[in-house]
């Protein structure tokens, strides 16, 4: 009996991600959603600048790479040029919540019919662990060696809470990739974010809390625990906006 197989939308290439990083899980969830909806042949992915810049090696899809933070703008161009295609941007926290904030907010405000997978691991991973817009108060990073000081660096950006204030977007949800239960919720949210696009409903963003054992200086197990103890209390999981659910009420 086959219990689990590789989703067809994923390639067989081994990923370059660090041990304990949850990008691999999130890639798989995206691929499973694409398989489930039968949209592989018309889906186009956009890799960001950051750890997942090479994501195009791992998906069996037409793909491009955007400049740092610009994936929602590139997605807008692709989708407007070919509305039949299913377009998703895969972005990290520095990419989306810092340098690309304007592109993300305005794509949401326009209710651009795209899907954004926003991976928040509270740190710049690829450049070696600098403070991110989502680094937690007190979090030690390369550029906040004494811990993030809110008086000096301000407060973390809560993307879902912020975007949910806009009239534009269709679906905004935060999930986590640190436990079986949370991964199952994440799978549902990601599939919904793609289904919304197939149905023409508009902008859907799923923030996936993720771990970075390498730059957090933790074992993979401790990193998943830190997500439960510290990260999730600051970034509560849940659906922040869901227009179709509201319509159904």
């Amino acid at each position: 009996m086959i219990v689990a197989t590789r989703p067809h939308a994923l390639t067989t290439a081994p990923t370059h991600y660090c041990p304990g990083c949850t990008h691999g899980i999130i890639h798989r969830l995206v691929a499973e959603a694409i398989d489930a909806l039968g949209i592989e042949g018309r889906t186009i992915g956009i890799a960001p600048v950051g750890c997942s810049v090479l994501a195009y090696n791992y998906f069996n899809l037409d793909m491009t790479v955007a400049a740092h933070g610009r994936a929602p703008a590139v997605a807008t161009g692709l989708k407007r040029a070919n509305p039949e295609s299913i377009v998703f941007a895969y972005q990290g926290d520095g990419d989306l919540a810092s340098i690309g904030m304007a592109e993300a907010v305005h794509a949401a405000a326009r209710n651009e019919n795209i899907t954004v997978i926003f991976v928040n691991n509270a740190i710049y991973g690829m450049t070696g662990g600098q403070m991110a817009p989502t680094s937690l108060p007190g979090q030690v990073t390369q550029t906040s060696p004494a811990g993030r000081d809110e008086l000096l660096c301000g407060f973390p950006v809560k993307v879902c809470e912020m975007l949910a204030q806009l009239d534009g977007p269709e679906y905004i949800a935060r999930v986590a990739a640190n436990s079986v239960k949370n991964v199952l919720s994440a799978k549902k949210a990601i599939e919904k974010a793609f289904r919304n696009q197939v149905e023409g409903r508009g902008f859907s963003l799923v923030e996936v809390l993720s771990s970075c054992p390498t730059n957090w200086g933790m074992t993979p197990g401790d990193a998943l625990g830190w997500m439960d103890s510290t990260m999730i209390p600051y970034y509560p999981l849940g659906v922040y906006k869901d227009r179709s659910a509201k319509e159904a009420d």
């Binding site: 793909m63 955007a66 040029a81 039949e84």
Partner: protein, 354 residues
């Protein structure tokens, strides 16, 4: 069928983009190119196209990147400060070998500068305008008619060579009204087998990227890109000459400065001074051969520009500094009169310094 109408330069350019088959415009408001956006906001819906006002110039050029990835003709337009913001996108378009059409209706700088005409973005345009080794095809219209004809040509060149074609014009050409004949021919069709259209689960995936972590691979990408650029230089250089058969004094000017210079050359010739004009229509590729040939019989070159002297360096390079080149310029939004240019011609004709 062709029709002749009276139009502003910016509007003629916008209509020509429609005629070229462009159905995707992404832009952000800035003076003095506003007529392009205003025209296309009305016109695109009429032809089933997309007009989208982006949140920034940066977003607009990356939307062009996305639409170009999909294999569609796409454009953006801006003016000097906005082009600086687009320079990131220009570099990524070049690194990914994507066609794009970009318009710079120049205003005076640096910084916020002013909103009056200038030609101070010559270096930025002709050297690529972003990080890394790359070039854009740079077209410099000198009339409303050329705003239209060079737009049609620009879209074809971009698709033929998979690179950005840029119209480098100024507030005068953009906003003045002239008679223009608009051709309504079928746009040239180009195959784009690399486009991101979805695999249909029938072919290998396409990846469009400017990321090459292996240095030998990236070196090869750069070498093959520059081999393509060399083909552009051989085949696509455009230049107009006026009075150059016997010229001893050669003015070199493009855009609005060329219009002024042509009047000055005519006046000089009427008074017996053997002056001529070389007008680069493509600023990149630069018409170096025409300049080098002229240096055989020209005694003195004058670079007439609305800048502190940028194109003058390309003239000196083209003629290998074999003849003196002097600058005649106004900046900050000022435009020289034909009389001012004529005065410069008369002084060098008498052997005086300018």
């Amino acid at each position: 069928m062709a029709k002749t109408v009276l139009m502003k330069g910016n509007e003629a350019l916008a209509e020509a983009a429609i005629q070229a088959g462009c159905r995707h415009y992404f832009g952000y408001p800035i003076t003095p190119q506003t007529e392009i956006g205003a025209y296309l906001a009305k016109r695109m819906p009429e032809v089933g196209g997309v007009f989208l006002q982006a949140e920034s110039e940066i977003a607009a050029i990356h939307m062009v990147y996305g639409a170009s990835c999909a294999g569609k003709r796409a454009m953006t337009s801006s003016s000097s400060p906005g082009i600086s913001l687009k320079s990131e996108g220009l570099s990524y378009l070049a690194g990914s070998d994507l066609p794009a059409f970009v318009v710079n209706v120049q205003r005076a700088g640096p910084g916020l500068g002013g909103i009056q005409p200038a030609q101070a973005d010559y270096f930025q345009a002709t050297r690529g305008g972003g990080h890394g080794d790359f070039r854009n095809i740079v077209l410099a219209p000198a009339s409303v008619q050329e705003m239209a004809s060079l737009t049609l040509r620009g879209f074809d060149l971009a698709d033929r060579y998979n690179m950005t074609a840029m119209i480098l014009t100024d507030g005068t050409i953009g906003q003045m009204m002239e008679q223009v004949t608009l051709e309504s021919a079928e746009p040239t069709a180009f195959e784009k087998p690399w486009a991101l259209t979805g695999t249909r689960c029938e072919r290998e995936k396409h990846v469009i990227t400017s990321l090459y972590l292996a240095p030998d691979e990236l070196e090869q990408k750069n070498l093959s890109r520059f081999a393509r650029y060399a083909r552009v230089q051989r085949a696509e250089t455009m230049v107009e000459t006026y009075g150059m058969e016997d010229a001893e004094i050669c003015l070199v000017a493009y855009g609005i400065a060329a219009r002024v210079s042509k009047n000055a050359v005519a006046a000089a010739r009427a008074s017996g001074i053997r002056a001529g004009l070389i007008r680069p229509i493509t600023l990149w590729p630069f018409p170096a051969e025409a300049l080098a040939n002229a240096a055989e019989h020209v005694r003195q070159f004058l670079s007439v520009e609305l800048s502190m002297g940028q194109m003058i360096q390309d003239i000196e390079l083209a003629i290998r500094c074999r003849r003196p080149v002097s600058l005649v310029s106004r900046v900050g939004g000022m435009i020289p009169t034909p009389e001012q240019v004529l005065l410069a011609i008369e002084r060098v004709a008498r052997g005086e310094a300018i």
